[in-house]
């Protein structure tokens, strides 16, 4: 069985061929299953989800998921000398490419207990097979299956479908001849915006760092009270949390990486397409059902967080209403080829993904201490990226930066600025 990759899946695969593009999701447990149960759990998932039995075949500039002769999901049991061991392991996973031509497109590392019972499960997957929604769902499924196996039961579930390319499920206004027309107009508009942005920036954007670069991570959380206060403030101003996070990150990056200059900065935001597809796609079905959108916003030395968030919120909302999330998806492979061929430009200054609330069933067999997620970056990618989610009534920020472009103290100062902006006392009503 085979299925051609869609435009965005192809863009992700092109990017991965240039430099590793792994998603590493980290599930931290108070106590986990024995390694042999985890191995059987992974096998049960592999049998259920076609994309976990897939590899990516390249033929004449096109890519195909092939579901033949793909080995089992590799499981590596790793010593856990201390509670922070997962950080170094995650950084190593981000830098090591999956062999997509051979498959599978997922591997697992298990940081087994150091005697306290605590452990971490690291799932590293090719972005073309999974998004944040399906990765979270896969973790829930894995815990349920392992719980069943530990209880001596055989987990039962029907085989999940292999989803079509996401653009085949776009709304009718973005299919057929209307799609071609829309894509043509959109590409012209993007080209025009590119010229204007470059003229306004006049060479002040940071150049890509030289090779080699290394993915480095850091995390912080907003407390329950800070989270509640931030949600209230955002909602009172009718702003999405995504816009506020985007504004805070841009302000911190402008200050620390651009010395507070007045200049336009580009930022990537991500949209979950699952509920907008026809028919809507459940989180349980693996796939990369998301879109990446790029915007440009003027920054200056004394920008107010809330005003900037409002300036971001409005065009993102308007673009989403116009269907830009579909058009960005459809043009993503061409844009990625252009970026890689030029090899001189960064995609953006920042990239923010807010995936919303995440919950694990309180009755699940293993208690979850935390959930982290990171996506590999490379020298042409954004300068500072964050994956954010709401878990256990707190906002969890997972930040990724490239070394040597940034060192650990500089990345922490930037994260500290973001935290301070988000939790500052209000000075305006």
């Amino acid at each position: 069985m085979r299925r051609e990759l869609g435009a965005f899946e192809s863009a992700l695969t092109l990017s991965d061929a240039h430099a590793p593009l792994n998603v590493v999701a980290v599930l931290r447990l108070e106590a986990g299953p024995p390694a042999e149960v985890l191995e059987r759990g992974l096998e049960a998932l592999r049998l259920r989800h076609p994309l976990l039995r897939a590899r990516i075949a390249a033929e004449g500039g096109r890519y195909f998921f092939e579901l033949r002769r793909v080995p089992a999901i590799p499981l590596r049991v790793v010593p856990r000398p201390d509670d922070a061991a997962w950080v170094e392991e995650t950084e190593a996973e981000l830098d090591e490419r999956l062999d997509s031509g051979r498959g599978p497109l997922l591997r697992c590392a298990y940081l087994a207990s150091d005697g306290t019972g605590a452990c971490e499960i690291l799932l590293t997957f090719h972005h073309a097979i999974m998004d944040a929604a399906s990765a979270t769902s896969l973790f829930k499924e894995l815990l349920t299956v392992c719980g069943e196996l530990e209880a001596g039961r055989v987990p039962e579930s029907d085989e999940a479908p292999l989803l079509p390319a996401v653009e085949d499920s776009f709304p009718s206004a973005f299919r057929g001849w209307r799609r071609r027309q829309g894509v043509g107009r959109f590409m012209l508009r993007m080209l025009g915006a590119e010229v204007v942005d470059r003229w306004r920036a006049r060479g002040r954007w940071n150049a890509p760092p030289p090779e080699p670069t290394r993915n480095r991570i850091l995390s912080f959380q907003l407390s329950e009270n800070e989270t509640r206060a931030l949600v209230r403030r955002s909602r009172r101003r009718r702003l999405t949390l995504h816009s506020v996070f985007d504004a805070a990150t841009l302000l911190a990056v402008a200050r620390r990486l651009y010395a507070g200059q007045s200049l336009p900065l580009r930022h990537l935001v991500f949209a979950n397409l699952r509920p907008y597809l026809t028919p809507p796609v459940a989180d349980e079905n693996l796939g990369a059902c998301f879109a990446m959108l790029r915007f440009t916003t003027a920054l200056g030395p004394h920008r107010d967080l809330w005003k900037l968030a409002a300036e971001i919120n409005a065009p993102v909302h308007a673009a989403s209403k116009r269907g830009a999330k579909y058009l960005f998806q459809l043009t993503s492979a061409a844009a990625m080829r252009f970026l890689l061929r030029r090899d001189t430009d960064r995609m953006a200054a920042t990239a923010i993904s807010y995936t919303g609330p995440v919950r694990f069933d309180a009755a699940a067999p293993y208690r979850v201490r935390g959930l982290h997620a990171f996506v590999s970056n490379f020298r042409l990618g954004p300068e500072y990226t964050a994956q954010i989610r709401l878990y256990d009534s707190k906002l969890w920020w997972d930040i990724l930066y490239l070394e040597p472009e940034l060192d650990s103290p500089a990345a922490r100062r930037l994260a500290g600025d973001i935290h301070a902006l988000l939790t500052a006392d209000e000075t305006t009503p």
Partner: protein, 78 residues
Amino acid sequence: MTTDDVEIDDIRSLVCVQLGLARVVDEDHLVSDLGAESADVVNLIAAVEDKYGIEIAEDEIPDIHTVRDLYERVRGRR
């Protein structure tokens, strides 16, 4: 008005105003049927909070799929 007095008609009207629609039905899914974007959902939730003096936590929002779900939440039944 207390939340006990809220009728589903009130919620339907609020959804219509916030999403710029002429008519909705109770089982309409806010996102997949009515095309609400995340900013629309924020506006709608904030409007409900202001009108009925309640607070809806961020992690409750994924449970509010339809117009009826929103009504049930305002009535405190969810």
